[in-house]
Amino acid sequence: MAGSRLLTYKEKNTWIHRLSGVTKMLFFLLWSITGMLTYDTRILIVMLILSFVIFALSRTEWAQVGTVFKFILLFLCLNLLAVYAFSPHQGTIIYGTETVLAFSGRYSLTAEQLFYEFNIMLKYLTVTPVVLMFIVTTNPSEFAASLNKLGISYNVGYAIAIALRYVPDVQADFTKIKHAQEARGIEMSSKTSLWNRLKKMSMIIFPLLFSSMDRIDVVSNAMELRGFGKHKKRTWYMARKLTRNDYLTLAFVVAFAAIALAITFSDGSRFYNPFV
């Protein structure tokens, strides 16, 4: 398997990769919560800059996340348009002033609205790099171990890890089945209507389901034979102890979240208002 597969963990030696999965997960959670709660533009801009710095430090390649990133950007644009379409004066309601820049009537474009939507965009952009980075820098097994450490049942963590284990196998099955069905004359190309394509898709999905079910049978037997589920607890080969860097990172993100939220709510509103 050469090249980088989309959105999968890739071993690299950076300090971010060396952090424990627990740390990265807590960082990612606190970071996202802060990003979602605050509408304080100053904080969002600081977070945005930090996000991109972290992203660069993790040495994530464009090939690993590019497609997903583009997809998120598209979604962001749609979201911004939708906000404008459904509540074109949300900005005015929030900031209390109205500075019309263009158009008039229901869809008059106000500076407040633009500023409000700019904040939404910032929120997306502060959270996205951190999420992507979390996915591509965290070893799934170690992640499962981390979830377990946070008190979540190891069954959940293992379910995720094992799903990731079998993704390449199921992908290979899918290609094989698709080819065989195409040879039998079931065309998957875009020549036919959507309904027909869906119907034909089922001719791949069923064999895929059945062969995956065979697989599940084997795996669950194999897991049981080797004692999975014997105890309430288990240990993890891939577990990582928290190091100094982990504590520093955690301390930083807790402090950052606390300060950011303190600033945000200091004046009793989540919004930073440049218009008054």
Binding site: M1, I162, L164, A183, R184, G185, P207, D214, V218, R234
Partner: protein
Amino acid sequence: MTPIIEFKNYTFKYRSQTEPTLLDINLSIYPGEKVLIVGPSGSGKSTLAHCINGMVPFSFPGESTGTLTVNGMDPAQTGIFGMSKSVGTVLQDTDGQFIGLTVAEDVAFALENDCVAQEKMFELVDRVAETVDIKRLLEHAPTELSGGQKQRVSMAGVLVDDVDILLFDEPLANLDPATGKRAIDLIDRIHREKKKTVLIIEHRLEDVLYRDVDRIIVIGEGRVVADQKPDDLLVSDVLIREGIREPLYVTALKHAGCQLTAEDKPEHIETMRLERHREKIREWYGKVTLPDPKGEKEPALEILDLDFSYISGNPILANIHFRINRGEMLSIVGKNGAGKSTLSNLICGFLNPDRGKILLNGADIADKSIKERGEVIGLVMQNPNQMISKPMIFDEVALGLTVRGVPEDEVKERVGETLKICGLYPFRNWPISALSFGQKKRVTIASILVMNPSVLILDEPTAGQDYRHYTEIMEFLKELNEKYGITIVMITHDMHLMLEYTDRAIVIADGQLIADDTPANVLTNEQIADRAYLKKTSLYDLAVKCGIEDASGFAERFIYYERQVRENGRLQTADL
């Protein structure tokens, strides 16, 4: 000595079945023994293994009478987890039982579940990785491993637990012959060095006998049919009666009319005493005459100078050049990952060659779509579950026609006819889920045949099948070939299949075509066999030991004779 495993008047019936699967089993296995358990599919040999590791009755419920003691415990009381401390099971699906995301994690899996401290795990995993020689693979993901390597990982995964009994469930099923040989060697080494009790369940008898076993237990219809030393068993007719393939050299000796005794030591051809039989063999060799080879035929499929690579500079196939004649039955062989499947993908149009041409009946098919090629070149996949997409047999077989818009009457007629050819007509209104594996295979073949292809490509048509089912599938294919003139290409690493059923073998190793010759020649040529991860046939050793120079000619005569015997319906020893 007290046995480590002891069945006493043991009978077991699955909850879902009306008849017991194991009947009145009395069997003792002693500590440190290495025992081979053979039997056809459905004989109950796997059930026997499941009783030992606790899968029966916990994963597969049912009722039992009599007693079973394993390492002083009753598996039905102790449970799967408890038994896993005494019995390590290596399943046949090396891919499916790979649980971890990397080799190291997979090996450590049992330790993790036992809450072993991480430091201790590192140490244990390292040590066991050394034993099975996978130390440099510890960081690798399963997709980066070969079948043989995966099996080593599975072995390491049960060895970390320091179990007393190792249970191998068809360890050779997914391996090419040379890798299988190595696996047997490794099992033997572990048995000797670690003083474990080893149970091997397998129907590829000759391959397991590459290394000594203490006893062979034959299971037939739920009963212990034989429990003997290999030398004693091989000279009896138990194996043939139970539908298990004898080692080829033993069959050859029997065909030649030699009266074998245990004193001949027939367990290994290398050390067998053949003095008494040499003359008989030579005499038989002189008597069998081969028919004249079939005349030159027109080509059905021509592969001209084919190159293919996924990443340029890293060729998967290079300069592949050969032809397949109309009405031929041909095998494409080579180790896993040699490029055999890539070749069939190129022929079917799933991939496009970087260079070279593929001609079908003299015409270039480069501009033909997958669908168009599918009408003339039919592909049957290894696992029938990967092809079947309809619940009913009739609909499944009709699928290729209905999507092509063939009128309903014609569909009905053609499907009916195909089902008759395939012996499935009586089942036409059955749901596919009610069929056995072999019957499902037939359905997939029927669903391709219905389109009247001129070439049929089958990927490992008999993988995982016992001798009886193997013969059933292969005889059916032979009939298609002989009666209906369909050209049949089989991608395989089953040496028996290529030897017994194909006229020619295309051997691919590391992306190169290294031989295009009769199977008898390929399998008696050490150099080719080595490069392609095949194994030289034991007929070669037999011929050499009897002073017959033309070993390939000897193998060919043997196959021809076998075919005659089979066609006359006698699988017993016969005189000319």
